[in-house]
């Protein structure tokens, strides 16, 4: 990381980038589903936005949200295969999953938000 010369200054596409990260976090923490729908709509609408910053944050947040969704489905399938929600082991998996994996995605979103606020592009460490 290099020192910034745009301390606190607005740059092109910053608003969209910040909104994308905020929607990503909202999808994980506050309003799941609906926030993702808005994020997806924004991404489709601004797919060809001239700002690389906005494009990168919109694309990356959609990608990471999809990963979160896929993992949630996989974990739930595993839980049902292990006998449903009525066993101690299941709760062990559920709680550890949310406190580690889900929280890790939240942390990545926080890093993304900080990057967007600093007018920097951000790539989630996901394939």
């Amino acid at each position: 990381m290099q020192p910034s010369d745009n301390n606190s200054q607005e740059c092109e596409g910053q608003s969209l980038a910040v909104i994308a990260e905020a929607l990503y976090l909202s999808n994980l923490l506050l309003v799941p589903g609906l926030s993702f729908a808005v994020l997806l709509w924004l991404h489709l609408k601004h797919r060809k936005h001239e700002s690389e910053l906005a494009q990168s944050h919109l694309y990356e947040t959609v990608k990471a949200s999809l990963w979160v969704g896929v993992l949630l489905v996989v974990v739930n399938i595993l839980i049902f295969l292990m006998g449903g929600y009525e066993s101690a082991n299941t709760w062990l998996v559920v709680i550890i999953y949310f406190t580690t994996v889900h929280s890790a995605f939240v942390l990545l979103g926080m890093l993304g938000l900080a990057k967007a606020m600093a007018c920097k592009v951000w790539r989630y460490p996901l394939p």
């Binding site: 910034s4 709680i95 406190t99 606020m117």
Partner: protein, 458 residues
């Protein structure tokens, strides 16, 4: 170092680190007692080890906070400390009183300690975290009042900044809420009710102000971002801390005999308590991303970012995990609480004290701006070993807590407490191993102070 009197912070930091080592040793002893009940019995019974572990934590953090204030306030106020001699005198009083208290815990039975320290005259002992003899509590009040006088006079006579003001409010709050430790009513509900005014309003209230101000100070120094930008963040963070944290005290009132409305108020406000930690993490990363200079003290920057992340996880995520009343009905007082306590204290308070030590100690030791790169590499290794170990301690305690709740409180044929403990012994062993990892990290941290080499230019 810009002001000579900042050097009084040094003994505070050294004492803090010494007591930190003691806290970890007693934590390991206690961790082993979870699985080998008679380990070191009767020399160090479990209740004594626990008392020493938690009391040392509180005392060394107070040393660290006071050291931080003595280092930061002169720079913020642009003048020397009002009375460096008073600061040093209070240091020795606090250290001797603290050491005598710990010796008292270890040397005589607790009931005898209460008797010989005159607890009958003003009974304040026997409550978790506030086990100190009344005379020690009076000593703490004297030390803190002297400290507040010293710091307040320095601030009043010098430049007033948001950082020093927030810190000062935090310390005054710390002192005022500690006075509730002297209120010990016969009614157990009232006792618990006001006991939380010390415990909760310290760690989820005024201590967060101290944390925020230290973090802001270090970020101003290492990033070069405009003070105004950082101060705006600090205002919002402390506002959210107080808005959520004060009524959030209600999450301790669910099952103690307080009115039922606390279940609603406590749930709502404490569910919002992660917000200031969330903001703190975004703030820290945002400032580092917007930095205007490459400060050679990489280790201090790492501690600052680590504090923000770990405080969010430990206090925010693990706090939220068991804060809603319907969930807390099952999780109350289980190993889930211990998991939350460990990571929250480490993330929010241990790391911020180590952060300010990391920033200031090289300067107090006569370096230009930072330790030599080799020493910083060792320190950063210590950071990762301690932090990863704490993550594992927390995860193992979380696993233990989930099984404990299931076996003891949710099954068709609930087990007794001790029978349940036998079933989760594996988690306690794993926690102990992670605890040894933490000790290795701490030893590495101490070694980093003695690593030499060429200094990097500022």
């Amino acid at each position: 170092m810009q002001y000579q009197s900042q050097a009084v912070a040094k003994p505070y930091f050294i004492a803090a680190l010494g007591l930190f080592a003691g806290q970890i040793l007693f934590g390991l002893i206690m961790g082993l007692q979870y699985v080998m009940g008679d380990f070191l019995f009767p020399e160090i019974p479990f209740n004594v080890a626990r008392m020493v572990h938690t009391n040392l934590l509180i005392v060394w953090l107070l040393f660290g906070f006071m050291g931080a204030a003595y280092y930061m306030v002169p720079e913020e106020s642009e003048r020397e400390i009002h009375s460096p001699k008073l600061a040093l005198a209070l240091f020795w009083i606090f250290l001797i009183a603290g050491a005598l208290t710990i010796v008292g815990y270890l040397a005589v039975p607790y009931a005898t300690l209460a008797k010989i320290t005159g607890n009958d005259l003003l009974p304040t002992m026997g409550r978790e975290f506030l086990e100190q003899p009344t005379i020690t509590k009076i000593g703490i009040v004297i030390v803190v009042l002297g400290f507040l006088f010293n710091i307040t006079m320095t601030v009043l006579k010098g430049r007033k900044t948001v950082v020093s003001s927030v810190m000062l409010i935090g310390f005054w709050g710390l002192a005022i809420f500690f006075l509730f430790s002297f209120y010990n009513p016969e009614n157990l509900v009232l006792d618990k009710y006001f006991w939380w005014w010390v415990v909760h309003l310290w760690v989820e209230g005024v201590w967060e102000l101290i944390l925020g101000s230290i973090l802001a100070f270090v970020l101003i120094k290492v990033t070069g971002v405009d003070r105004e930008v950082i101060e705006k963040w600090l205002y919002i963070i402390i506002a959210m801390t107080l808005i959520t944290g004060i009524i959030g005290t209600g999450h301790h009132y669910y099952w103690i005999g307080a009115p039922e409305y606390w279940q609603v108020l406590g749930s709502i406000f404490s569910a919002l308590e992660p917000i200031p930690f969330f903001m703190m993490a975004v703030f820290a990363f945002n400032m580092v991303n917007q930095r205007r200079r490459e400060h050679p003290n990489k280790a201090a920057t790492l501690w600052a970012l680590g504090t923000a992340v770990m405080a969010f996880l430990g206090a925010g995520v693990w706090g939220f995990l068991h804060t809603l009343a319907p969930v807390n009905f099952y999780t109350h007082g289980s190993q889930i609480t211990a998991a939350h306590g460990h990571m929250a204290f480490y993330g929010a308070y241990v790391m911020i004290v180590l952060c300010i030590i990391s920033y200031s100690m090289p300067l107090m030791r006569g370096r230009a701006a930072a330790n030599p790169p080799k020493a910083q590499v060792v320190e950063m290794w210590a950071f990762w070993v301690m932090t990863i170990s704490m993550v594992f301690i927390t995860l193992f305690l979380t696993g233990a807590g989930i099984l404990q709740i299931w076996l003891q409180r949710m099954g068709d044929t609930p087990m007794s407490f001790m029978a349940g403990q036998d079933q989760i012994a594996l988690f306690y062993w794993l926690r102990e191993i992670a605890g040894v990892g933490f000790l290795i990290g701490l030893i590495t941290y101490f070694i980093s102070f003695f690593v030499g080499g060429e200094e990097q230019a500022s």
